[in-house]
Symmetry: C2
Subunit: 402 residues, 2 copies
């Protein structure tokens, strides 16, 4: 047993980069079911209230291949192909959630000081992984159509970054979906610089208006690419299954990295996913139902935000995904706001953890609309707006006094 | 799509250390059910032929905590405590197999050049992970009671290694189980040097004779420790569930590393494991049955080896685990042997991949006895012995001719 005189263990320097995640703290405080949580990115559990899993046969109990089950790889490769990616089952790897895809890609590409380009804001758990691997993070701001291709070209000239991480479809957290034109322009810039594209695409199927344009990776002519997908958002998140498709030369090292990471992903889960995804028509009907359900929630949140946040913040109505991204018209103390709303039973995610570079941090907030029921959403947004309005007035006061 | 003129992507230097695993190649060649495979470390599928999994409730479908399910953490912590480890649920992390425990521990401790001590031979997938993290691997030979404490003390003085990796109970591949005295002596040496002990203990429950002595970590007074356990060998390998228990100061960074690796492990699997492990008496009866089943296989393999390999190799009868480790009396070409036996429908694992340092490579072979049925085991050992005897004679010939 540890005594007070025990020396501290010598840890790897990357551990200094392990961010004590704000997000995690909030999420652990919101395990409490009474909290109205706009903080996480959780699907609505009512969608699977009556779901019975298919019975898993004993043949799925043995150790399996690191690549994943062939049948599931084929289903997911067909989906990727349908999106215009030059994919097949042989270059499709089953991962333990698309989070594992980030870990494997980071191991493949990053070492201390490797420049990597990402969006500002970007997905917070991706930032966490890239920092852990001690990469040199460079951000490009998002406008309503994506990052700017010319700015990207300049930044690639300047940094010689070998890799860019993008989440161009219903981005987490901003909800931004890149236009078709922008996708093509960005692909051309990446080809010019031979930059590896790590494209994270977990929200594509959750589209409320038109279907989104094809992945940026589908427009690449020569650059290497890794495309991450997930069944967590549209099937069953607790399964922890995702997939990775990549340019052929990257598959072999990624497969070895997968093997070293966890040998292979859970096989009963792969069996369940295969059964549930096997019939494209059944699957599409399920996704259509899910989108209709979430569309109503998005519309409700938009109505509530318009009623309560006008003048306090600006936002775009997301055409897919699970989040609203609010930019406040005035800088407010969001740590204070979070304390206040949590004490009144409401959680949200402050914008800061979504920025790799603290200088980029505006005054922003991510609100998830997929989890909370309509009744509670109304109550939650009212409380949130009251707290923000209070702090907004305090901030305005302080400003006029200074 | 990739054209021939596309530039090669710039990858991290660690990828140079990614071993193209012999083991993996053999295992993928033995997916063919007709092969009699002594190569892998697979449990006997007949053990779960009639097993029905408990029905998983929808409450297990949502995202869950990175730590794992509380109920399962409590069950596994009780087990660790029963082994004398100062463990509790708060310092127990559910992992995606104990392979993931190796990945998390490597991330916590290793950077390029970090010295790490391990056994010769050692677990091949651990060697793979440590090489991937570009550690400086130092090996200590195993005798029948474990590594030598005095040699360990000298090597720690010399290398200042902050960490040692040991698999002291029914080791994979050698089958060695450290004596109680040796465990205590090694713990004292580690305390003296404040070395972190990474103890891998997946085979403990598969004991054929007396129960093994407590983990080495239970004898530490001050040194930090990480203890890895697994349900893959005694429950259902396809679930990919393991656990990690550690000294309290290491838990928080390991939990963050787990979050960055895959958010959390599969929840339906955790529910299933909790149900199956909940009743200690039922679980013990299941393990007793499993040990009796494997003991018969071990005894049969010993009989077959005695009949066919006398004079060709020496070995110890393992008192637990799943492997025989044969040391040949003469150096033979094991790549040739593997080709020959595979062409005759039999696979084994050459010893080389279990050595971190090629200089340590003797002429050895690992034989798994848990998977193959008794009838096929007899046939397989006969073929194996015939091939080895042939090569042995060729080698003796060449030697006398030179």
């Amino acid at each position: 047993m540890k005594t007070p005189t025990a020396p501290s263990p010598r840890l790897a320097s990357r551990i200094d980069k392990l961010t004590g995640s704000v997000a995690r703290d909030i999420l652990s405080r919101t395990q409490d079911k009474e909290i109205i949580s706009f903080a996480g990115g959780l699907p609505d559990a009512s969608l699977w209230r009556d779901l019975k899993l298919p019975e898993v046969p004993p043949s799925a109990f043995q150790y399996g291949p690191s690549e994943g089950e062939r049948s599931l790889r084929e289903i997911l490769a067909r989906r990727s192909k349908g999106l215009g990616l030059p994919a097949n089952a042989d270059t499709t790897l089953i991962t333990s959630g698309s989070q594992q895809g980030l870990d494997l890609a980071a191991k493949l590409i990053l070492e201390p000081g490797t420049p990597i380009i990402l969006e500002a804001p970007s997905y917070l758990a991706a930032i966490q992984v890239f920092k852990l691997f001690q990469a040199d993070l460079h951000s490009l701001p998002l406008d309503s159509e994506g990052i700017c291709p010319r700015a990207l070209d300049r930044l690639l000239n300047e940094t010689q970054a070998p890799v860019i991480y993008l989440n161009p479809t219903f981005q987490n957290p901003s909800g931004t979906s890149y236009s078709l034109e922008r996708r093509k322009q960005i692909a051309a810039v990446l080809d010019k610089h031979a930059t590896l594209l790590l494209e994270d695409d977990p929200y594509r199927d959750i589209a409320y208006d038109a279907p989104p344009p094809p992945p940026i990776a589908s427009f690449l002519q020569t650059s290497p690419w890794i495309y991450l997908a997930s069944v967590s958002k549209t099937l069953i998140p607790g399964l922890r299954l995702g997939s990775l498709t990549c340019s052929p030369e990257l598959f072999s090292p990624l497969l070895k990295l997968k093997q070293a990471a966890d040998l292979h992903s859970n096989r009963p889960a792969q069996f369940i996913a295969t059964q549930m995804l096997a019939d494209p028509a059944v699957n599409q009907a399920r996704i259509d139902g899910l989108c209709q359900h979430y569309r109503q929630k998005r519309d409700l949140m938009q109505t509530l935000l318009a009623a309560h946040f006008s003048g306090l913040a600006s936002w775009e109505v997301p055409s897919g995904g699970m989040f609203f991204w609010l930019r406040f018209t005035q800088r407010i103390d969001l740590a204070q706001a979070l304390n206040d709303t949590l004490s009144r039973g409401v959680a949200f995610m402050p914008g800061a953890p979504f920025f790799a570079d603290p200088e980029d941090v505006g005054t922003s907030m991510r609100l998830n609309f997929s989890l909370v029921s309509p009744e509670r959403m109304e109550e939650g947004i009212r409380i949130l707006a009251a707290v923000v309005r209070d702090l907004h007035q305090t901030a305005a006061c302080a400003e006029s006094a200074s």
